[in-house]
């Protein structure tokens, strides 16, 4: 089962905190990969908040293609950040370029509404992905302001060392990390969590038995970003995006969509009339678990949800100003050791744990009582 380590904080912190938490949860992942998504970036990115960051990996040939494409699309390169690669024993040979490139929007988009800009960024990311997918010359994981993604195959601690994260000044206020336990699929970078689309991000553990009908439903929305699905967990991110961005549902309805209540339980909710319709209309998006999903939304709100079949829930705990959402308690101990453990939250099947930006406090939303 994959191990998940998410931290949200009032202040900037280093991704090494997540990675060390993953290290303590090591028993659960087999070192087949590390995925890191950072939001609300600090360090070298602090002064470039409004500019989209393109995160990915490419070969020399890919770099050329990428540059040409971005130039043609009208994006102006402002800055390039690259991890300082260090050869680590036991790791695969480094690929040519790991990068996070900061761009300025094309002139015609500078004053467009956010939604349109987001669509542009996503379409560019997809185009680049398609260009480099067959020969693996380009991998792009995210293209969005204030968000950076790093992924590589290997043991998380080794990958971190490989990226030189232990010595880097890279920091953020929300960081998601996943240590991958490879199950069904071949080790492939695009199958590595966390998944990201237009400001929405999530990572999951547990297998998704309802994957095929969910994938078919999502691709049927004919939304260009609903592609990929190299991992059965990617659908969780897209469901979040679909319900929140496309349908405009408040965040808690994500829980109602993926783990709908029984008819009798719906009767107890004030919004029962709409809930019934939502349950029917989004029936194919019901996950059949067992899964824990940790995600964030564009404003930086983090959450954790489970389905009823998850035998061992994740855990959320911390201090005012810094909270961690982990798949295992030992990960929480590593990330925030000086907390009041009695306040740790192990969400129940009807709970959605929500932490707003700045990590002031944790709220538990209960599906039965809304």
């Amino acid at each position: 089962m994959c191990r998940l380590a998410a931290i949200t904080s009032h202040d900037y912190f280093s991704p090494m905190e997540n990675i060390l938490a993953l290290e303590t949860m090591k028993e659960g992942h087999d070192g087949s990969g590390l995925g890191l998504t950072l939001k609300d970036l600090g360090g070298p990115f602090e002064k470039m908040k409004g500019y989209p960051v393109l995160s990915g990996i490419c070969s020399k040939k890919g770099a050329k293609m990428l540059d040409d494409y971005m130039e043609k699309a009208g994006f102006k390169l402002i800055d390039i950040w690259a991890p300082k690669i260090k050869a680590v024993k036991g790791m695969l040979a480094a690929r040519d370029h790991y990068f996070a490139r900061v761009y300025d929007y094309p002139a015609s988009y500078k004053h467009k509404p956010v939604r349109e800009r987001d669509d542009l960024l996503m379409n560019i990311r997809i185009a680049l992905r398609k260009m480099g997918e067959s020969d693996e010359s380009i991998f792009v994981f995210s293209f969005y302001p204030d968000v950076l993604t790093l992924k590589e195959v290997g043991d998380p601690l080794q990958v971190a060392e490989f990226f030189g994260l232990d010595k880097d000044t890279l920091k953020a206020k929300v960081i998601f990390a996943q240590g991958r336990q490879n199950t069904n699929y071949a080790i492939y970078l695009y199958a590595c969590h966390p998944f990201f689309i237009q400001g929405y991000c999530s990572m999951t553990n547990g297998e998704n038995t309802a994957f095929v009908p969910i994938r078919e439903y999502l691709t049927g929305r004919h939304f260009p970003g609903y592609i990929g699905y190299n991992s059965d967990s990617e659908v969780f991110t897209h469901i979040l995006h679909y319900t929140s961005r496309q349908l405009g549902f408040p965040l808690t309805y994500y829980k109602d969509v993926i783990t709908p209540l029984k008819e009798s339980e719906i009767e107890g909710r004030e919004d029962r009339e709409s809930l019934k319709l939502i349950k029917q209309s989004l029936r194919p998006l019901c996950i059949d678990g067992p899964n824990v999903v940790i995600g964030f939304t564009p404003d930086g709100t983090c959450f954790m949800v489970h389905d009823a079949k998850k035998l061992r829930p994740g855990v959320v705990g911390g201090l005012k100003g810094k909270y961690a959402l982990m798949s295992e308690e030992c990960g929480l101990d590593s990330a925030i050791p000086k907390r009041d453990k009695t306040q740790d939250i192990f969400p129940m099947k009807h709970d959605m744990v929500i932490i707003r930006p700045k990590a002031e406090e944790v709220t538990v939303w209960n599906q039965l009582h809304n």
């Binding site: 038995t209 095929v212 496309q246 309805y253 209309s281 029936r283 194919p284 678990g289 389905d307």
Partner: protein, 553 residues
């Protein structure tokens, strides 16, 4: 050699031409005459024979020949009175002295067209081979990478939806204090949807079935809903419903069918103001898998008083429903109008859907319905569906198998992103070999939302004798030896409606358990795994390719 004069100008058939040959045992028979009395087709008769017997008595052999009159039971070779293999004679024989035996070499169809009439019968397609549904296997078992579920312990929701479902982006919702509430401001039509058990009893009319059979089914279904909490629904078939049921609160468990003869609809329409509940749905029958393109026929001998009154016709006349609805001009107009009129009759509170027979053109119908916001579902009845009466040629040779038909329709909906909007109902050959839950689950994973059964329920609840070796299949004659498809009180008193109801309950309860036994190891429990095609495999590459599932051997 003796001259075989008996063969000159002899058009008599030999027993070898017939599908069933009676094995009668002289030594066991006590000559009670029960078998000959009970045979629905008079295929056997008592006969008197003269036998030459050579006997010897006394201490030394002194053979003497004598002639003796003996009584035997004999099978006739008249093609009009062929033995159907029903086995009723065996059932009544006190000494196990008589039994029909299937004759695979028979040339029955070569002769069963006397008078220039094609062979008519009831039942389903005579093809005993293993159907596609029975070749499908459930191969995606949750093992170690994720926990399989315990069918006995976990909470399961084996339910489905019948009715048009709005796409999420068309739901009339607005945000109020962080909640979504339904807004009725723009007058958006929210179609009616029923939550039901995914297996339903398909249309069998009250004229085709005997009173105890229909009552038994209806009682069983009502009990399942009221007592067992299993929301099973049943379609009525053409020809109306007993007036008492129309006005009862149990009407909500029944789907009323309107077919091309409109039989019974006068009564139904007049009852609408008195109804205390809406029916579960309205099914508009455009076709039937057993006899595609053919109308219904209730033979005169089955039109007794009760049936005549429910249908609003005189007694003892053939009741033919035309092959198509007379008002049907085109799918865009007439079908849409029909759906709308039926919806309107119940104030748009009842799902209305058409039923067609399996066909290569099903997708065209589907696509049309997908564009019609009032169409509540599409029911497709495959070639293995049953009937009370049809030409053998229609039964055996016409129609489309359900598996690939349902699959291509589902995949078409997937392409349009409408797979959750228009539920597909699959029928035809479900449970043919007794694997009801497995066949139903396979169809669901291919894309069906609901699975409908007919012949299976007759066999399982009332011991219908019919099978794919053309056994019995006398349903069209009014002489059903089990009392299932007859209006003759002497025959239907053989059937106990309470027993039928009890069996209906048993069948659905056990299939509920078996469905869980299939879904649990596949890790599914919360939602019906509609379209979960990665769960299925088949041992034939071409079939796997056609159904877009995996091949496993």
């Amino acid at each position: 050699m003796e001259p075989a004069t008996q063969l000159d100008y002899n058009h008599q058939l030999s027993l070898r031409e017939l599908p069933y040959i009676i094995r009668w045992r002289d030594d066991r028979c006590k000559r009670c005459g029960s078998c000959t009395a009970v045979c629905p087709v008079k295929a056997i008769e008592p006969a008197v024979k003269v036998q030459r017997v050579v006997q010897s008595e006394g201490p030394v052999p002194t053979p003497t020949a004598s002639r003796k009159i003996v009584h035997v039971v004999e099978q006739v070779t008249d093609i009009e009175r062929y033995c159907t293999g029903c086995g009723t004679c065996t059932l009544v024989c006190p000494n196990e002295a008589i039994e029909p035996e299937y004759n695979p070499q028979n040339k029955f169809l070569h002769f069963k067209n006397r008078g220039g009439e094609g062979y008519k019968r009831g039942g389903r397609r005579n093809d005993p081979s293993v159907s596609t549904l029975d070749r499908l296997k459930f191969t995606r078992i949750s093992m170690l990478t994720d926990p399989a579920l315990d069918a006995g312990r976990h909470e399961f929701r084996v339910r489905t939806l019948l009715g048009r479902i709005l796409p999420a982006d068309e739901l009339p919702l607005k945000k109020v204090n962080g909640n979504l509430v339904v807004t009725h401001e723009n007058g958006k039509f929210i179609p009616p949807v029923r939550e039901i058990f995914p297996i339903m009893i398909g249309s069998m009319s009250i004229g085709a079935l005997s009173p105890p059979m229909w009552e038994g089914l209806a009682m069983g279904v009502t009990y399942l809903n009221e007592v067992e909490g299993l929301p099973v629904v049943m379609a009525t078939g053409e020809g109306g419903v007993p007036p008492r049921l129309l006005k009862s609160k149990y009407l909500k468990y029944f789907i009323l069918q309107i077919a091309s003869g409109y039989f019974g609809w006068d009564e139904i329409i007049h009852s609408i103001p008195h109804m205390v509940e809406d029916p579960a749905a309205i099914e508009i029958k455009y076709g039937q898998g057993a006899k595609p393109g053919d109308g219904g026929l209730l033979m005169a001998q089955k039109v007794l008083k009760l049936i005549a009154s429910i249908r609003g016709v005189p007694q003892f006349v053939d009741l033919a429903s035309p092959p198509t609805h007379q008002t049907k001009y085109s799918i865009e107009e007439a079908v849409a109008k029909m759906i709308q009129s039926m919806s309107m009759a119940w104030g748009f509170r009842v799902p209305v859907y058409p039923k067609i027979s399996g066909t290569k053109t099903a997708r065209a119908v589907l696509n049309n319905l997908a564009r019609n916001p009032y169409a509540a579902a599409l029911s497709i009845d495959g070639e293995d569906g049953g009937t009370g009466a049809a030409y053998n040629v229609s039964l055996d040779k016409m129609g489309h198998p359900i598996a690939s038909n349902i699959r291509e329709c589902y995949l078409d909906l997937v392409k349009q992103g409408k797979q959750n909007e228009l539920p597909l109902i699959a029928a035809g050959g479900v449970g043919k070999k007794g694997n009801l839950a497995a066949n139903a689950a396979a169809l669901i994973m291919l894309g069906a939302s609901v699975v409908s059964i007919g012949k299976y329920i007759m066999q399982a609840t009332a011991n219908c004798l019919g099978d794919e070796f053309n056994r019995c299949n006398l349903c069209n004659t009014g002489k059903c030896p089990r009392g299932i498809t007859t209006q003759d009180p002497k025959l239907y008193r053989r059937l106990d409606s309470d027993k039928v109801a009890e069996r209906v309950v048993e069948v659905f309860k056990s299939s509920n358990v078996e469905l869980k036994k299939i879904f649990a190891p596949m890790g599914r429990s919360t939602e019906l795994p509609i379209g979960m095609s990665d769960g299925l495999s088949i041992d034939d590459k071409a079939m796997a390719e056609r159904l877009e599932i995996s091949y496993a051997c």
